[in-house]
Symmetry: C3
Subunit: 449 residues, 3 copies
Amino acid sequence: MKPESVALHHLGAAAALDPELLCIFGTGDLGRSLGQRLLQSGYKVVYGSRRPHSCGPVPQGAQVQHMATLLCVITLHLELIVLVDLSNNLKKDMYPEANAVYLQRLVPGAEVVKGLNTLSAWALQNGLLAGKQVFLCGNSAKAKHAVAEMATKLGLTVLDRGSLSAARELEDFPLQLFPQWRLPLCVALGLTAFFYFYLLIRDVLYAYFEDGKDISFRIMVSLANKVFPIVSLIMLSLCYLPGVIAAFIQLYRGTKYSRFPDWLDRWMLCRKQIGLIALGFALLHAIYTFIIPIRYAVRHKLISRMKNNKTTPFNFDNTEAWATDSFYVLGILGFFLYVLLGLTSLPSVGGSLSWREFNFVQSKLGHLTLTICTAHGYIYGWNKFLRPSTYKWYTPPGYMLCLVVPSIVLVLKMLLLLPCVDNTLTRIRQGWERTRLREEEGEIKATNL
Amino acid sequence: MKPESVALHHLGAAAALDPELLCIFGTGDLGRSLGQRLLQSGYKVVYGSRRPHSCGPVPQGAQVQHMATLLCVITLHLELIVLVDLSNNLKKDMYPEANAVYLQRLVPGAEVVKGLNTLSAWALQNGLLAGKQVFLCGNSAKAKHAVAEMATKLGLTVLDRGSLSAARELEDFPLQLFPQWRLPLCVALGLTAFFYFYLLIRDVLYAYFEDGKDISFRIMVSLANKVFPIVSLIMLSLCYLPGVIAAFIQLYRGTKYSRFPDWLDRWMLCRKQIGLIALGFALLHAIYTFIIPIRYAVRHKLISRMKNNKTTPFNFDNTEAWATDSFYVLGILGFFLYVLLGLTSLPSVGGSLSWREFNFVQSKLGHLTLTICTAHGYIYGWNKFLRPSTYKWYTPPGYMLCLVVPSIVLVLKMLLLLPCVDNTLTRIRQGWERTRLREEEGEIKATNL
Amino acid sequence: MKPESVALHHLGAAAALDPELLCIFGTGDLGRSLGQRLLQSGYKVVYGSRRPHSCGPVPQGAQVQHMATLLCVITLHLELIVLVDLSNNLKKDMYPEANAVYLQRLVPGAEVVKGLNTLSAWALQNGLLAGKQVFLCGNSAKAKHAVAEMATKLGLTVLDRGSLSAARELEDFPLQLFPQWRLPLCVALGLTAFFYFYLLIRDVLYAYFEDGKDISFRIMVSLANKVFPIVSLIMLSLCYLPGVIAAFIQLYRGTKYSRFPDWLDRWMLCRKQIGLIALGFALLHAIYTFIIPIRYAVRHKLISRMKNNKTTPFNFDNTEAWATDSFYVLGILGFFLYVLLGLTSLPSVGGSLSWREFNFVQSKLGHLTLTICTAHGYIYGWNKFLRPSTYKWYTPPGYMLCLVVPSIVLVLKMLLLLPCVDNTLTRIRQGWERTRLREEEGEIKATNL
């Protein structure tokens, strides 16, 4: 992971005529695979190595020189040089200053550009570059332009992050590990743990202490298959709650021009992750449900049931049939919409949608999914809500708890869909403000363009 | 949704040296999040607001000035200015002319470029820009070039749609809601409705009137699970029918240089959507099938069966076992290929295939899928075709109806694969024409390059 | 598929001012759809046809002229011309030299650029271009630059493959059919065939000859559902074996600067494909498992079981319940992680991950998946390993065979995770070499930047 950098002679107009000469310092994996790609893109590549003769193989067509020599050669036309610093650190704040800044201090004459440091040798070797985002920063726009052109030729998408002062930030990028997923994952795991223990007490322990039955084997599948849908439904509603809250804040303030509280902003920014985690739990729930009938316990129950109450007739209950079937159907449709939402959150799919389409899918379809899944939950307990035996040890069953949040979200959403409320909200979102006078707005609209 | 626009001073060569100055008129969500991205990309951003002091927060590092002042400042070097119009309308034909054209009339001196109006504040905030397509149009190529550069820096893919006369078209883009999906969805829903009622009559009503049994609960799952595969299979065959028709038209005309009828062109353009809808129905069919054994009605049937005919022996029928198993296997393989086809139609996956690979998957694999799924349908009724009891009220069961179209497609495809037909078709597709003389073709081939 | 080419007048600086004029020779599908896109991107397009009057419809706004006329016109300012050769061959080595080289010989004055030949008319018509990679090669960097700009305007990602000598290679691209998938697919099919026959002998034939029972119907589902998980697990371990081998080679050599043997390099380059095939088999295994309970044979077994041993009580075995349930749970979790791995190998998803995130998913999650799936296999046979009846005809059952490779991989991986080994490996991968003196390394680190 030692700092590696690319020296790029910017030959101005000439650059367009014959391929540019690039010097890569360091012949590590990154250096080698980068050089290979650059050669493929028609550049001339020279490696600067500490031990030109024992530095291992370099890509076909590249030369290797001793670093010292190379540095001298370059120093001769230092005013032309662009230094790209691809270095990364092993941990945050490893050095007092950013490597790129340090490099700039060492070679004041050169134009240092920090960037491309999120590239992995792996991605370079396997040509996983097309559309990959890389970041650049540096003080010279000309230098950045030259580097950006090089990166574009490799098929990369270049994002300019401003001056060299952003170098530190860029050097921290590769050290990040799913920063946006942290919070949602914690919430999901917390909910899972809570409901797991809650149901463990209500089902297993209750059966053990009250009826003296050992049904601990249920922990593996039955319990999990109760917890997963619960967490999934709650996460899904948490994914649409912030939007509703935001709407009410705007209604209350009567304007859209005032910032939301930070916690709400942060919440809204990780809605995608929350939704995808909800989808994951829903998928687990689906698979757990599919394997129910092949489970030993289930088959045993079915068989023993036959043996024991052989005599008692078993009448077909039409209501029961309707209830269970609609329960399953709602579950299936909900899961199907879940998957649709997940697909549209794939970068390549979402990127091909117009914002109205994307908004339609994520908002309309999203709330439909939430409604269907909540109904799925209500039907599950449709005839249990009033039965006292449901409340073991005076605690409500899990699915009742998990219906609270979604129900609230849906009720609030209903309120927002009332014509009067909806109109006000639409006008606010189009820029109208309660405090402002209508005529003033009128004359502004005139001068607007 | 009020019109927002970006003024972009084009500083010519200087542009390369220091970041360009951008003025954004309007501090709405779009303006704010766009400004944020532009600042990140190293631009200087100034907001023009009607109420600079109460316009809410603007991104760090951006200034806010009163629109009037800003306009004056700009007007001083109007000959340098590029105006980007990002405005959208709330509904089609809201104004007599395109906003961009109106803007151009208002500021004749400026070079107006219409575009970026498909961007959503949402996508901008969450950095969903990489690879996203945006459209530009304008009368000045230089101005478009400058805007395109800006957009590229944001990681967008810019498509130039020509002169400002295309502005209207661009302003209608964001109002479109899955235009290509309309027709396929209507067809799918129509088929679903038809077969639903058809089977409702044949199964539920028939059982009610003839046998006096109430099996209405079947509507929820059993019926749906018959309708979904039927619609899915028909849609899949409708996805390959136009290709076959086109081939026969070419054979008949003996040339590929004459246009297909419009209806065929339109049909061929929405094949992808038809296929994906077919996949959706297939997925529903799969899930409905997986939950069969946990359904109340099914379990009840199993149990009661045991109780009633306890005495009669239940012999194992080898043929039955083979038939059902191969029925399931064909279904599974068909579904598996379905999913493969769906995956390759993901933009990012399809984009990484060479046209021959894409063609192989979509044509060869596609027809294989159709064949397997059709066989799946035939085996389902293998021993029912000749049984009179199958034709309740003299109507054929649903799966027979749904086998008609696929069978036709497959037979026609077989004909096209006959060596003699295939050769002619290949030659036609390579440019040969029946009307033209062979020698002439010969000498042309010589002068071809 | 006849050679088509685009002539592109490079008007230098003027190009920026008014749209460039493009001449497309040949009005085939590719020519027409390419012209359409180019017109949309604001170019002027003229077609060169052999029969301008019977060449079928060209896109709106394009002109058609006779090829000869057009060539004359162009020849008048030949020094300005850029010829893009999009031609492809029908099979490899169709002509002695590359079409582009031939074209260059024919028109020595022009600057020939080979490329864009991987584009399909289909992709062009349906606007599947965004992010699609195309390749260019040619001797004039200026010409390549002009073509690259044109391609970028179409939303394509351009990769420069160097001089015209690479034309042959480019012309072979469209003829490739999943080159990287060949080897993995062969391995997978080979394993499938082997285990199929192995289990056929052990299960079906054994039952036939020893017990005289005909259970041939098992071939369809039961056997397949044993073979698929076996192959999937082996493929998954083959996906992580090369990485382990590479680590040991590096440990043995004490350096990372020496190349791996070719077979290992090739193996490592198709790890992605191996993993995806393993996922495919896992998916099949999952679906096969879901439909078990609705199979005729299974239902028959269940029912007949009831009828026969009606008297004998059927006691609930807690251990059995635990074992089977944990068996299923491990399978489900394994499959879930499988799917996650598959998702991150989608170009658009993988491209949005930093290399550390990608590495985390592919390495950490990957090995976790392998561990869980292996445990899934071990639990399956937890109580059968010592039972002599397991070894029919003295052969081990399939799941034992399939556990060999994964176990080896996991054991080796454990060894690599031992602190002492891990530290050495990390140091080696950071560039340290056993042969080199530590102080030397020290002073180099100083001069490193």
